[in-house]
């Protein structure tokens, strides 16, 4: 590595040192520290980062996280959801803003606390899925994370209400590394919402989440990215699924200057279902990049993946979805689709759905479409008296609906629908 690059890397890492005061002696941290000696900033020469430049993240100067003074977070809540709330501001856990009543069969706590109080569970799971040895941002997170959510759902427990994690920033330019660990034991069921919002200013969020979906368990997860238009985010989600489990992720990106999501799903048991749904609505110069990997290792599993983009102004959306079907994974059903609607000539979509199949008895399909709004349909609607604005809104909503209709929580769907409508009025 050149001296200049090395200096740049050290300068970037220096943003985080002061904040990682918490004692973490995990093996993963040691591994990540070691990996960081050699890992460099990703560049577009790496296939994995081909369409996304990280300069906006790595060249920025971040302010030291100030103490925050936030008392009203009502506008970041989902009305009528009635969820467990775990709130972080500038990466710091806020006990006052959170509402974590303890219930039977579930443990929800800040990960910093779990590190001390649930040592065995923590050590068995932390850093076993994250890509900290090969991915720069994952390594940074593994070394410098300050806090996040630790979740343990006991065998056969059905969590009575959703768990809503709210990540807020309120600083000129905050940088933080949220780290989450979710362990969902056999036949347990849980719904997790993770939202990222900005109170003021800008931020760089470098999040890593590890999720263990054990035998027969069901996890419904939602990620809602709605940060300020100057905020950046890299988000890694590493999942392992055991037999007969169902993992569903809905990723909705409404704002942010640069957002990169990396899903890595290992399907390590028979009879599993994996659903990955994504919707991004971009405008301005936004750049949204969704990378997903679903690795079918065992037979008789099903995966469904649909990502939809509605791209306005001169924004960009990238989709790269890889599905591996290993030689043992016979009778796999894998479906993958990416659809983009370009609202202007300046918007661009890069789409790369990929299937790598090593088994012979499988049903797999993938596809990708990029197009404009159907002007014939707009004309048709307008001849009936529908205003042009409403006609366009209807067409966009109809396009986005393929994802929205998968959202099982009515209150959340309603919030998203109104945010989308707002966006186009």
């Amino acid at each position: 590595m050149s001296v200049v690059l090395e200096d740049k890397k050290q300068a970037f890492l220096a943003n985080f040192v002061a904040k990682s005061a918490d004692k973490d002696s995990s093996i993963a941290k040691q591994e990540a520290l070691k990996a960081l000696e050699n890992l460099e900033f990703p560049t577009t020469r790496d296939e994995y980062w081909k369409y996304t430049r990280v300069g906006k993240i790595t060249n920025a100067n971040y302010s030291q996280s100030p103490s925050f003074n936030v008392s009203d977070i009502s506008r970041y809540l989902v009305e009528g959801l009635g969820a467990y709330l775990v709130v972080f501001v500038n990466g710091f856990f806020s006990e006052e803003l959170s509402e974590i009543s303890q219930a039977k069969g579930i443990t929800i706590c800040p990960i910093a606390k779990a590190r001390k109080e649930h040592v065995d569970e923590f050590d068995q799971h932390f850093g076993r899925l994250s890509k900290h040895e090969s991915q720069f941002f994952s390594a940074v997170n593994t070394v410098y994370n300050t806090n996040g959510v630790y979740l343990n759902i006991e065998k056969n427990s059905v969590v009575d209400k959703p768990i809503h994690m709210i990540n807020l920033t309120d600083a000129a330019n905050a940088a933080y590394n949220p780290r989450n660990l979710f362990i969902v034991e056999e036949n347990a069921e849980v719904t997790i919402i993770n939202s990222y919002e900005t109170i003021s200013g800008s931020s760089f969020t470098n999040s890593t989440t590890e999720i263990y979906v054990n035998e027969g368990a069901t996890v419904d997860s939602y990620i809602l990215q709605n940060q300020s238009e100057t905020s950046k985010q890299v988000n890694e989600i590493d999942v392992v699924q055991k037999a007969n489990s169902i993992y569903t992720a809905n990723t909705v990106t409404l704002n942010g200057e640069l957002v990169r999501n990396n899903y890595n799903i290992e399907v390590k048991g028979q009879g599993c279902k994996t659903n990955l749904y994504g919707l991004c609505l971009t405008s301005g110069n936004q750049h949204i990049d969704n990378h997903t990997i679903i690795d079918h290792i065992e037979p008789n599993c099903e995966s469904n993946e649909v990502y939809i983009g509605v791209l306005d102004d001169s924004s960009t959306a990238v989709f790269n979805g890889k599905v591996f079907v290993r030689s043992e994974a016979q009778k796999t059903n894998a479906y993958q689709q990416n659809k983009n609607m370009l609202l202007t000539d300046d918007a661009s979509a890069y789409s790369k759905p990929e299937l790598e199949i090593y088994a012979d008895d499988v049903k797999c399909s993938h596809g990708s479409t990029t197009g404009q709004v159907d002007e014939e349909a707009i004309f048709y609607l307008r001849t009936r008296g529908v205003s042009e604005l409403n006609a366009r809104k209807m067409m966009i909503r109809a396009f986005a609906n393929e994802i929205l209709e998968n959202i099982k929580i009515d209150a959340l769907r309603a919030v998203l629908e109104s945010k989308i409508d707002e966006r186009f009025s």
Binding site: D374, E376, A377, F379, Y380, L381, R382, T383, R384, G385, V386, S387, E388, N390, A391, M394, M395, R397, A398, F399, N401, E402
Partner: protein, 250 residues
């Protein structure tokens, strides 16, 4: 009601309508016939406000020049086009779209949105008029509809919007005999002394049900002959050659 004077329309430099004149009074039914490609659907689109054409000439509706109005403004003024090829719009429900249409038109006229119960009542009433299956009204606009179902849906929408000037572009094509009767019946029931209908058709058959006051022949972008309903019978018998040939000889 509708007055068209010296209407020209071209697209990408090709002139399709070449100086067309037409007067339609309230209470009248006009049939427009003519060979394929003569410009009938183009006329319908231009009247509905399609923006792809370069248009010259004058179009007035009840004395008001509508040639610069957007399609939705023309709809609010009472223009309705039943499409020759209704567009399928996946994901947009028939009912929701009609509710928006009705209320956008009301907003244009400075009226408050229609009450939900009044809208449902209207919906039920008009659905019955064209005997449209309830399931179809709840589905996405025209998506997966059969050819005949699409045409019936057009007349259903027309019934919902109560236009002053309805233009039906080959609404009869693709309809079975019963559907043709039902659709024609619907059109006749909606007819009144202060609205007018233009039916574009190739067949006399429809005109047995919807009896026109005038029949026009559109050829090469112009109306080359107008007459009464007997003209349609004559065309059915003789085709268009006898009208076109002398024209070509000129």
């Amino acid at each position: 009601m509708l007055s068209i004077k010296n209407l020209h329309a071209s697209v990408d430099g090709t002139e399709i309508l070449k100086g067309l004149n037409l007067e339609v009074n309230a209470g009248e039914v006009h049939a427009i016939m003519g060979p394929n490609g003569s410009g009938k659907s183009t006329l319908a689109s231009v009247l509905a406000g399609k923006e792809d054409y370069e248009v010259l000439g004058e179009i007035t509706l009840n004395g008001k020049d509508i040639s610069d109005l957007a399609p939705e403004e023309r709809a609010a003024e009472g223009v309705f086009l039943a499409f020759q090829y209704p567009v399928e719009i996946p994901g947009v429900s028939n009912v929701n779209f009609l509710k928006t249409a009705v209320n956008d038109i009301r907003a244009f006229k400075g009226l408050p949105p229609m009450l939900a119960k009044d809208f449902l009542k209207l919906l039920k009433e008009k659905r019955a008029l064209v005997e449209l299956d309830k399931k179809l009204t709840n589905r996405s606009v025209n998506e997966g509809f059969s050819g005949g179902e699409k045409k019936r849906n057009e007349i259903f929408q027309m019934a919902m919007l109560k236009p002053k000037l309805a233009i039906l572009d080959e609404t009869d094509s693709g309809l079975d005999i019963d559907a043709l009767r039902i659709v024609a019946n619907g059109v006749n029931k909606l007819k009144s002394a202060d609205n007018a209908t233009i039916v574009i058709t190739h067949y006399q058959r429809l005109l047995d049900y919807i009896i026109p006051d005038f029949v026009h022949v559109l050829y090469d972008g112009k109306i080359i002959k107008s007459g009464t309903k007997e003209l349609a019978l004559e065309l059915e018998e003789k085709g268009y050659d006898w009208l076109i040939k002398p024209e070509m000889a000129q």
